[in-house]
């Protein structure tokens, strides 16, 4: 009987631990350890289960079929799902943003022919550089951040409902302005 109770408690504890996973992925570091942001504190993070529930309603990816497949950390701000994957640059590849512009956008985007469909820009915000790219009609807005000291890379996405696509575009600047590397 005692053994059964112990086993039950262990199983319960294990389940609770799983449900409370807030960060996942190879060599991902907690964002709160490296940046300050009023929107992205450690305490406001979603669990992977919570994040996947929202994510799966807004997008399906063959790489992310269940909560344990997700990578990075998640927040929900004004019904916008924010995913950020933070890594030390030494654990990933440093991006050349100008090169990335050409290989990420639609073919011929540099000529301006897709200016009504696609947006991208490279700029400096606070103490980092950022490459922002998204399709106006898409509900996923992406950004990649590399701090000026070449220590970290953040790969971020704002995943919205289809009705909040424009809101996500506006929030992009607000979110980025809130981020400062420690």
């Amino acid at each position: 009987m005692k053994f059964n109770i112990l086993a039950f408690l262990l199983l319960f504890a294990f389940n609770c631990t799983k449900a409370q996973t807030y960060i996942q992925g190879e060599k991902v570091v907690p964002l709160a350890n490296i940046v300050n942001s009023e929107f992205l504190s450690a305490t406001k993070r979603l669990s992977m289960t919570q994040a996947f529930d929202i994510y799966s309603q807004r997008r399906s990816s063959p790489l992310f079929k269940k909560p344990s497949d997700l990578v990075g950390e998640f927040w929900l701000v004004d019904n916008l799902l924010i995913n950020i994957v933070s890594r030390e640059l030494s654990a990933t590849r440093k991006e050349n943003f100008q090169e990335l512009r050409y290989s990420s956008g639609p073919q011929g985007a540099s000529t301006g022919k897709y200016k009504n469909q696609y947006f991208d820009t490279v700029k400096t915000v606070n103490n980092y550089n950022v490459f922002i790219s998204y399709f106006f009609t898409g509900n996923i807005k992406s950004f990649i951040v590399q701090d000026k000291q070449s220590r970290y890379k953040l790969s971020g996405t704002i995943i919205s409902t289809n009705s909040d696509i424009k809101k996500a575009e506006v929030f992009m600047d607000t979110l980025l302005n809130s981020i400062t590397f420690k």
């Binding site: 992925g25 190879e26 060599k27 997008r59 990816s61 063959p62 790489l63 992310f64 990578v71 990075g72 994957v85 890594r87 654990a91 990933t92 590849r93 090169e99 990335l100 050409y102 290989s103 990420s104 956008g105 639609p106 073919q107 011929g108 985007a109 540099s110 000529t111 022919k113 469909q117 790219s133 399709f135 009609t137 898409g138 996923i140 992406s142 790969s155 996405t157």
Partner: protein, 462 residues
């Protein structure tokens, strides 16, 4: 009216040049001499019977104007040319545009028992006058790929010999763009118009003689390959039959990339490492014998795009599209469907099956060369309905999948992430082969590994 006057003046200038060359013969009283019917018959007969690889001059759409003929002698005639596409023009180094309609004419010479026709293009330089032409005359055989040039200064013939030039050949002198034309692609309510030009290099006159224009030679256009078109004849015959099966089609893909003439052109593209895309098409000039020819290498001067030219008809059809990415990148979704917009226009209709069977899109990137062939023609062609809408959706998903893959695999190359995205989206539509760019080219089909879900080269059994 002004245009007609200009043509007349140019024409008279030309006649003047020829007059000087021809020991100052009196010519003016011979203008408007009726053309012998046999010359016209001979031209039309040759135009009908002869098909040859066209050069940049003779590929311009034009027709002789048999009402504007000057008979210099019984064996020498000048014939006016009407350029059929009014958008055609040439642009000089000084960015001056000259309409071809005012600058082109045909010559007919009788020797060795037959009439020989040459197409000529005048490219004036600064200081050229209507009555005393200064500049370059490009002369091309009307029915053969031969092309050359000679130069004049104030009506004087500078170079004694006709110098041969090859499209894209780089010697010392001046780059010009030529055969500029407006290309409009329209699909599903979306249309895009782009001006496309060919480039050619003209050796500056240094063959002696007086009156040569002074001044430094213009810098060569660094975007143009150094000697494209040199080497083995630009004609190669395929012996391996393509297949929709990725492994069965591998031999054909490798043959097509590694035959001498094909390899020469592909190598040129490989060596071009600056910041714009380069391209050429592969034309099947003999459908019966499966003989291919490459068009000259060119660039539109754009970093992430190049326009395609397709040809079809009794003389063959375009089946291959080759271009480079001047940045680290796998093929894009667009690259898989090059030529799709022209498919429904291919005539005769019987050639459409040849197109889908022999279609290839080759993409030279920083680390790899990719060759794309069609796996399922029905699915590939189905993309053509509402293409813009479908490709937009595909491009978005391609980007999302690429980003997902990079998040999951922190050290993956951009190209690996893009390969994953392409295979996820289009593995049932196309076969994607990849070879290392350096070393011996050995193309193997890409697949998503069943255990890792990562792109990998398929080891086909021999």
């Amino acid at each position: 009216m002004r245009s007609n006057n200009l043509f007349s003046i140019t024409f008279i200038s030309l006649v003047s040049i020829f007059f000087i060359i021809s020991c100052n013969k009196e010519v003016y009283d011979k203008i408007h001499t009726p053309i012998p019917q046999q010359v016209r018959s001979s031209y039309e007969s040759q135009a009908k019977e002869k098909y040859v690889e066209k050069n940049f001059l003779t590929q311009i759409k034009y027709e002789p104007d048999w009402d504007r003929v000057y008979q210099e002698s019984d064996s020498s005639l000048f014939i006016g040319i009407n350029v059929l596409d009014s958008l055609e023009y040439i642009r000089t180094e000084q960015n001056q545009n000259y309409a071809l309609a005012k600058r082109m004419f045909l010559t007919a010479r009788y020797y060795s028992g037959s009439w020989h026709f040459q197409t000529n293009l005048l490219i004036p330089v600064k200081g050229s006058r209507q009555e005393a032409f200064s500049g370059t005359v490009i002369t091309a055989d009307a029915f053969s790929p031969r092309i050359g040039y000679s130069e004049y200064y104030r009506g004087e013939y500078i170079n004694k010999k006709m110098n041969s030039i090859r499209s894209g050949a780089k010697v010392a002198g001046t780059w010009i763009t030529t055969n500029c034309r407006s290309v409009t692609a329209s699909m599903g309510g979306y249309s895009s118009t782009t001006t496309v030009c060919d480039y050619i290099y003209i050796e500056s006159g240094n063959g002696g003689g007086s009156g040569q224009p002074n001044g430094p030679l213009p810098e060569p256009d660094p975007r143009i390959p150094t000697d494209a078109g040199d080497g083995p004849p630009n004609l190669y015959k395929l012996t391996k039959k393509p297949s929709t099966d990725p492994c069965a089609g591998r031999a054909s893909v490798n043959e097509r990339a590694n035959l001498d003439s094909a390899k020469l052109f592909l190598n040129k593209i490989v060596t071009l490492t600056d910041s714009v895309e380069y391209a050429y098409e592969t034309f099947m000039s003999s459908i019966v014998h499966k003989e291919l020819q490459n068009t000259p290498i060119r660039t539109d001067g754009i970093r992430d795009e190049v326009q395609w030219n397709m040809k079809w008809g009794d003389n063959g059809l375009t089946v291959g599209f080759v271009h480079s990415h001047p940045f680290e990148s796998a093929p894009t979704p667009h690259d898989l469907f090059n030529g799709l917009s022209g498919y429904n226009q291919i005539q005769p209709v019987s050639q459409r099956a040849v197109f889908t069977e022999y279609f290839s899109s080759t993409i030279v990137t920083e680390n790899y060369i990719y060759v794309v062939t069609i796996k399922d023609a029905n699915k590939w062609l189905a993309m053509g309905t509402n293409f813009e809408e479908k490709i937009q959706t595909g491009i978005q998903e391609y980007k999302y999948l690429k980003d997902d893959y990079k998040n999951k695999n922190p050290t993956a190359l951009q190209s690996e992430a893009q390969e994953f995205a392409l295979l996820t989206l289009y593995k049932d539509v196309v076969n994607i082969y990849r070879s290392n760019k350096s070393g011996i080219w050995d193309f193997k089909p890409l697949q998503l590994d069943s255990s890792t879900n990562k792109p990998s080269s398929q080891n086909c059994n021999p």
